[in-house]
Amino acid sequence: MKLLAFGITREIIGMSDSSRTLKTSMTVGDLRKELCGEFPKLKELNTLAIAVNETYATDDVEINDADVVALIPPVSGG
């Protein structure tokens, strides 16, 4: 999987575009838990959505090796 992070999540994680090793049958929820453990500041955000292949994904969605996964902190366009 390719992991992207935007806005404040990019600053918290300290990267904008990196690859992570995918565990066997990891879900969006698993990834969320792992990242929040590693970077506790993610838990302080109003919301933290996760997109898989440019679509908002719920926690039960399975992440595959070829997927592009993005961290979406609260949006503030317009």
Binding site: I8, E11, A51, S76
Partner: protein, 139 residues
Amino acid sequence: MKKNIEISTNALVIETCRSFVHSGNNGAECLFVGTVRDQTSGQSVVKLQFEAYESMAIKEMEKIADKALREFDISAICIHHRTGTLTVGEIPVIIAVGSPHRQAAFQACQYAIDTLKETVPIWKKEFFTDGSVWVSAHP
């Protein structure tokens, strides 16, 4: 039924958006122009930086345009969003809607900007004289 979606680092142009939705079939055009305010909750704003997950943002903006065309009696919609550094008075977003009748034009335009602010992966960081903050990130 036409839509025009764009994310750009160049200055947005109202007449470009208006021209896209203009047609002799329409009786009404509604435009929303977002502008950078000089203050937020009393703090002076120096500049804003907009960052987009561009490929996904385009997809979400297309969804908004498609739904607006489906749900309201409008003939065309144009949504342009800017990224990069903007100063006070500059335009982060323009939405233009053309419609046979005005009620649908207003409704679709308001639907589009309301939804854009909820779903489109674009973020702004506000810079004050003494610091900066990602808007809406924290409670």
